[in-house]
Amino acid sequence: MYNILVVDDDKEIVNAIEIYLSQEGYHIIKAYDGEEALEKLKENEIHLIILDIMMPNKDGLETLQEIRKDKTIPVIMLSAKSEDYDKISGLNTGADDYVTKPFNPLELIARVKSNIRRYVDFSHVNYATENTKLQKEKVLKTGALEINDETKKVMVDGKEIKLTATEYNILKFLLKNKGKVYSIEQIYENVWNEESYGAENIIAVHIRHIREKIEINPKEPKYLKVIWGIGYKVEDIK
């Protein structure tokens, strides 16, 4: 049972989030401004915080600064501010994720799950990787995305993802060369070992499919990024 602190001055939004997350088995603690959130954080053991930015008394960013002084718990910013500038300042202040209003409930749930799994499970994951030292070379990973080339399993936030053979090969190639940008042509030549004549948009379709499977929001991918007009890359995340 994980405790999630939901902070928003709009009570209906807090209630809606409570409904969604309770259905997923989380316990919700509610707060309606920054000050209250900090108090609730002191009183309870909290595993994740969903934090609005525009709030009375103490706004989201100030509250986040306070939290980050001594806590590493995952924080998801939830704001109507959707400018790049707002997202960047939120993430720079120490947020783990940024969801804009009006949000898709499924996306919010997915992000909550992903963050909790990473935060809670990673403290134990270390052993697991120790035990499978032998397989270590066979495992390719970035952030919470990993491929085990031995078992051909793809895991995101500890959850297995089913990919087709082609999708698996493309992802494996990109993950193996994570951080580097490859054009469609290069990807085709490397994966199929032949000229890509006329097959370009097939690759693009495959990559969209991969994104739809591994990303919470395929339009704002975290792992498999589209560099428009240049190519694709898998982000190198520690």
């Binding site: 009006p102 469609i184 948009n201």
Partner: protein, 684 residues
């Protein structure tokens, strides 16, 4: 002290007196050292001055006779010159009229002097008979019946001077045989008498002093008995004179209670006019005074005439000097020249004319002025300097034209800047003149207006964007609840088809509202240029393929078939890849929404000479009863109300974004054919 009118008046009055005292003292000193005391004409005859004048008169006469003789020769020796036909013969210095008269006692022709305009004073007192030894002709001013007797009289009577056979016989000591040795060289004169016999005398009692001598005599008499006085008067009057002159120079123009130099009415008259009038008067007075010395006016009034001339001359000079000094002191000297005023007027008038907006008149004046000056200079070509001046003038004119052109260029540049949309120009109006100055002023005003207008419109666009962004935040919060609770409702088991249908509508509309707000914010940001661009080289072909990959399922759902015509090579352009994707994405999104289901969509990418050309063609699902321009306007969609998808802002955003990145976005509607043409500068 310098303001005292009385003192100044005293000075003005005293100065002529002092000068008078000084001059007569000096004259007295010079005459006492020269002549000593003189009693009457008898003593005057003894003076050297008298002797010289006497001799000079005779020389004039002989010179005149020599001339006349020449003339007579030309007429013919046998002819006589009658009284009636008395001819005027001119010599260097005198006019004489002779008449031939008959004298039986003398064998040769006798010419009697009828009229004489000799300019020596003494000539009218001298009686003479001059005989030309060559032909025996006699010239005389004595009327007689027996000339040989007259000759004898002249030889003996009174004070006489005779010249016969190269010898001088006289009782005038200063010009006797002995003294002649000394003065011949200086007068070069005794030789003139060769070939002539001269008999002459003068009656001293008929003689008066020469005027200058008379004046000297008057002066002498004034100091008679006080011979030492001038010794004191000269230094005293000199010191007083200098003092008074210095005082007047210092004090003139100052008046009681006034700080500035006071100018009187004379000081305000043109300096040239004053100078010319005064110089003329002084000149007249001086020449009158000088002439009166030589003239035969009664000596009794001579002194008065002299004094009057002197006073008039002094007054004029005093006025002239004092006005000059006052003008200098008031710093009005140059300005009071009429020449200066005329020059200024000419300058101002030229400036006035050239400053006028009527540049035609200016051009006319300048052009014909140039021609005129060139012609005048060309006329002086004969002197070597004229050529140089003319060439220099031409070079100067050329230089001026170049300078003018340079200024025109500056204005042109400023105009080009404004034309190119950079109104931050400021022309220095001071550097320019005439029409150019006015032009510069207008340009500056226009540029200022533009800059202002642009700033204003940018500011208002920014404010609009801010407003829209802020409002969108406020709309998004309640919208979140709507969307969420609709979603929760959707999950409820409701066994009522109608309610489910209502909920579906709510869901759809709330999603549309969300999209609308997002597009609105983006459109306002993009159209106000409130977007930070990160330009880099992009492969448009890759981007098209990627986008196709993104839209593959959506197109498939509508059964749209893509016909892609892409070049084999990569197509590079410079753009911000995210915003470029937004452009292509919006076009694809538009196609997927509004293309006729089951039709073909043509995409063509072409590399032209300098441009990259991208074309999308599709068949519209509905009749496009609207122009391309209207379609591009915000909130206007192909069909004004029937569609529920999208905000109608997509193409407008695409256009603004393309233009922000330096491309060109164009829509073409031909019946049901919907065409999007995007061109971009090619990057190598």
């Amino acid at each position: 002290m310098k303001e005292s009118t009385l003192l100044k008046f005293l000075c003005y009055v005293s100065i002529p007196i002092m000068i008078f005292v000084l001059v007569i003292s000096m004259i007295n000193v010079s005459i006492t050292s020269q002549y000593g005391e003189m009693q009457g004409p008898e003593e005057y005859v003894e003076t050297e001055e008298f002797g010289m004048e006497y001799l000079e008169t005779l020389i004039y006469n002989v010179k005149a006779i020599k001339r006349d003789k020449q003339q007579i020769k030309e007429v013919g020796e046998n002819q006589t010159i009658s009284y009636e036909s008395a001819t005027e013969y001119t010599t260097d210095t005198s006019y004489r009229y002779y008449r031939e008269i008959e004298d039986e006692s003398y064998a040769y022709p006798v010419y009697y002097e009828v009229e004489n305009y000799n300019n020596t004073r003494i000539s009218r007192y001298i009686n003479y008979i001059i005989i030309d030894k060559e032909n025996g002709n006699m010239f005389t001013n004595i009327k007689s019946n027996n000339y040989p007797e007259e000759i004898n009289k002249l030889k003996t009577e009174k004070t006489n001077w005779n010249y016969q056979d190269g010898n001088i016989a006289t009782n005038i000591d200063s010009i006797n045989e002995e003294s002649a040795k000394y003065f011949t060289s200086s007068y070069n004169s005794i030789n003139n008498f060769e070939g002539y016999e001269i008999y002459s005398n003068i009656n001293p009692s008929t003689l008066t002093y020469s005027n200058s001598l008379y004046i000297q005599q008057v002066v002498y008499n004034m100091f008679k008995g006080h011979e030492n006085l001038p010794t004191y008067l000269i230094p005293l009057s000199t010191i007083l004179l200098i003092t008074m002159i210095v005082y007047l120079i210092w004090a003139t123009g100052h008046e009681k209670g006034k700080k500035e130099i006071q100018l009187n009415s004379i000081d305000k008259i043109s300096y040239e006019l004053v100078s010319i009038v005064i110089m003329f008067v002084i000149g007249m007075v001086m020449s009158f005074a000088l002439a009166s010395i030589e003239s035969q006016i009664p000596q009794k009034i001579l002194v008065s005439v002299f004094l009057l001339c002197y006073l008039i001359g002094y007054a004029c000079l005093a006025v002239w000097v004092s006005t000059t000094i006052r003008r200098l002191k008031a710093k009005q000297f140059i300005r009071s020249f009429t020449t200066y005023k005329v020059c200024r007027w000419v300058k101002v008038t030229i400036k006035k004319i050239t400053d006028k907006e009527n540049s035609n008149r200016k051009m006319t004046i300048l052009y014909w002025g140039f021609i005129l000056i060139s012609m005048i200079l060309a006329c002086t070509m004969w002197s070597g300097i004229g050529v140089f001046v003319l060439i220099a003038f031409w070079i100067w004119t050329f230089y001026k034209l170049l300078q003018y052109n340079k200024k025109v260029q500056k204005i042109n540049e400023a105009l080009r800047n404004i034309y190119e949309g950079n109104p931050n120009v400021k022309l220095n109006e001071e550097e320019l003149e005439g029409t150019l100055k006015i032009m510069a002023k207008y340009i500056n005003d226009i540029a200022g207006g533009f800059t202002n207008a642009i700033e204003q419109s940018l500011k208002s666009e920014r404010l609009k964007t801010e407003l829209i962004t802020n409002v969108s935040h406020d709309i998004k919060t309640p919208l979140t609840s709507i969307i969420n609770y609709v979603d929760l409702l959707k999950k409820q088991e409701i066994n009522n088809a109608q309610i489910e249908q209502y909920i579906a509508i709510l869901d759809k509309k709330s999603q549309r509202l969300k999209k609308l707000i997002e597009d609105l914010v983006e459109a306002s940001k993009v159209s106000s240029g409130n977007v930070k661009l990160n330009m880099e080289i992009i492969n448009l072909k890759e981007l098209l393929n990627q986008t196709v990959g993104e839209f593959e399922d959506k197109l498939e759902k509508k059964n749209l078939k893509l016909e892609m015509d892409l070049p084999n090579e990569n197509v590079r352009i410079k753009a911000d890849n995210r915003y470029l994707y937004r452009v292509i994405e919006n076009v694809f999104s538009n196609i997927s929404k509004y293309a006729l289901e089951g039709s073909r969509v043509y995409i063509k990418l072409e590399e032209q000479k300098d441009e990259v050309y991208l074309e999308f063609k599709n068949i519209s699902k509905d009749k496009l009863n609207i122009s391309a321009e209207e379609l591009m306007q915000r909130f206007v969609r192909g069909d004004k109300s029937r569609y529920t998808e999208g905000s109608g802002l997509g193409l407008s955003i695409a256009e603004s974004l393309t233009e922000l990145q330096g491309g060109n976005f164009k829509i073409d509607i031909d019946g049901d054919l919907f065409k999007v043409e995007i061109t971009w500068k090619k990057e190598h």
